[in-house]
């Protein structure tokens, strides 16, 4: 299932020029507010008719300005989860959930029971949307979209209206959709943390233009992406595997560059995971440190350095097969004489890794 898109559209203030391919898995459309992300998703859904271009899903044409083709929204078989849920206020949750089923052309797909179990909404069926919390509304909206048996799910900042606790509560459900149902998703977000946790592919948008596309690990550890992502949010994703849980509340994970000890995760030993390490949480040391409280020391090689506008330097390190980013001051970089090719140690405090940043791989 591949979505190909190449469109341009004049919007108030700027012109949208978007061209990318979204393969299977979760493709995150990342950018600041006003970058044109929602317009792209609306064009895919058929709610916005681009001035020109072409959109295809697995080769079938959704929109083609040259051929004068425009498939209406209701024939596209795409499930759209809006930022504001948009549940029908006059229908109970149960009727909202099955709304799209009567139109579904795809006979196979998850049943109401399966979706209720997956999203934990079985107890809400008799309620009206007005009586639901924000997180419950979003889970029902996701369920409603899934039950329309879509070829692809479009999610426009589905967690933006929620507080961090509720966000953390919904992320595992989205991972289950990705891994258990294999539904391809186009996921709009301006949160690096969400992108790092969920995305297989990342499409970065700035001022209506697509500036970078690639696998999540590559894009997020690319030094040229630090500015659009925001320097405080900069960090890398390490694919990892849970080795064991220690009785003192720590979990041991293996990464390509060694072992990591992190606060206990609820994933089973053997499960594959992905861990986001923030650049500002990494300390660099020329010698293998001794007598240090930090538990994680990974040998690494400097691959690239980039000076920021402030006092900082971002350092990309090769750590086994993967990349780790470290943000240090220019003064420290000078003192350590950091240069590409240099071998050193990346030191990561176990408790600095937020449990929300450890997701299913």
């Amino acid at each position: 299932m591949t979505l190909s898109l190449d469109i341009s559209h004049a919007l108030p203030g700027f012109t949208l020029n978007a061209r990318f391919e979204a393969p299977a898995g979760i493709t995150a459309l990342f950018g600041r507010s006003g970058a044109g992300k929602t317009s792209v998703v609306n064009a895919v859904a058929g709610l916005l008719r681009p001035d020109s271009g072409r959109i295809t899903l697995n080769g079938s044409v959704l929109f083609d300005s040259a051929a004068g083709q425009l498939l209406p929204a209701h024939k596209r078989q795409l499930g759209y989860v809006f930022q504001d849920a948009r549940l029908f206020p006059h229908l109970k949750v149960s009727a909202n959930l099955v709304y799209g089923m009567r139109f579904a052309r795809n006979r196979s797909g998850p049943t109401v029971e399966e979706v209720c179990a997956l999203l934990d909404i079985g107890s809400l069926l008799d309620r009206h949307p007005g009586d639901l919390s924000g997180g419950e509304k979003q889970r029902v909206a996701i369920g409603r979209a899934l039950l329309s048996r879509p070829r692809m799910l479009l999610l426009d900042e589905p967690l933006a209206a929620l507080d961090s606790g509720r966000k953390a509560g919904i992320l595992p459900y989205l991972e289950r959709l990705r891994d258990d149902l294999g539904v391809p998703m186009l996921y709009v977000s301006h949160s690096v943390a969400e992108v790092a946790r969920l995305a297989t592919t990342v499409v970065v948008m700035e001022n209506g233009q697509v500036t970078r596309t690639g696998p999540a690990e590559t894009v997020l550890s690319d030094l040229r992406m630090i500015r659009p992502l925001g320097v405080r949010e900069a960090g890398s994703i390490l694919p990892a595997r849970v080795v064991t849980h220690h009785p003192d509340g720590l979990s041991e994970l293996s990464v390509s560059g060694g072992r990591l000890l992190l606060p206990q995760t609820n994933l089973q030993p053997g499960a594959s995971t992905r861990v986001r390490i923030l650049a500002q949480d990494v300390i660099l040391s020329l010698q293998e440190p001794r007598g240090l409280s930090a538990l994680n020391v990974l040998p690494a090689v400097v691959s690239e350095l980039k000076e920021g506008e402030g006092p900082g330097v971002i350092c990309q390190l090769r750590c086994g097969e993967d990349y780790v980013l470290a943000r240090v001051t220019r003064r420290s970089a000078d003192a350590l004489k950091l240069a590409p090719g240099q071998t050193l140690y990346a030191v990561i405090k176990a408790v600095s890794v937020d449990p929300v940043d450890v997701g299913r791989g």
């Binding site: 709610l47 948009r86 029908f88 206020p89 979209a145």
Partner: protein
């Protein structure tokens, strides 16, 4: 009830109920169409249509009645077509009272329905479309249920207005007992003859009760729409 009301009074009440009911039911589809058009569509002449619909609200009713007579009277162009093609005569018949009542009540009906249509978030209709619903389905399953309280409120208001319509009716179809003498026309007629005050007062009480009930019901439904 027939014991309390004299036969002529009862006749007037029954005729008014029939005229108001038929006028309301027949205007409903047109009222809904006009409400949707004014709330949602953009087309040339939209301001003109809006003005035309609301004209009976501000014109002296006698003028509206006279215009109806000119158009739908035996010599009027529309009246002749209706009589020749459909065999329908409106002037000086109860059917004419229906037309007069419908036209006078139409602006009230459209206003209430238009507010209801405007209160529907088009984003909900977009959501229904992404779930596979065609335009017809979206209207039937999302828009219509959401505007239903407004539709009923508009219909009740129109019914009450039609019950009370006097000026245009008496000008267009006159005041023939048993044929075109509606409740307000009967009140007027009773007040013209000595000793008719008691009968007029009974009809006035009915009129006040119906109008008040309609206003309360319509307010209640309008508030329900807003709360959603």
């Amino acid at each position: 009830m027939t014991g309390w009301l004299g036969p002529e009074e009862w006749q007037a009440v029954a005729l008014s109920l029939r005229v108001a009911l038929v006028a309301t039911v027949l205007s409903l589809p047109f009222g809904l169409l006009a409400a949707v058009a004014l709330a949602r569509w953009n087309f040339p002449g939209k301001g003109l249509l809006n003005g035309l619909i609301h004209l009976p609200l501000v014109l002296p009713p006698v003028v509206t009645g006279y215009l109806l007579l000119l158009a739908f009277g035996p010599q009027g162009p529309a009246g002749r077509v209706l009589a020749d093609v459909f065999g329908v005569v409106l002037a000086f018949r109860w059917t004419g009272a229906v037309l007069a009542a419908a036209i006078m009540a139409f602006p009230l009906m459209v206003r209430a329905m238009r507010l209801a249509v405007e209160a529907v978030d088009p984003k909900l209709e977009e959501a229904a479309a992404t779930l596979g619903a065609s335009r017809g389905w979206v209207f039937a399953t999302v828009t219509l249920p959401l505007i239903m309280p407004g539709l009923i409120a508009g219909a009740i208001l129109a019914f009450a207005k039609a019950m009370g319509e006097f000026g245009a009716t008496i000008t267009f179809v006159s005041n023939i007992p048993g044929q075109t003498q509606t409740l307000p026309s009967a009140v007027y007629a009773f007040l013209q003859v000595p000793g008719g005050e008691a009968a007029a007062m009974r009809l006035v009480l009915i009129s006040v009760a119906v109008s008040m009930g309609a206003l309360l019901a319509s307010e209640f439904l309008a508030r329900r729409t807003v709360r959603r």
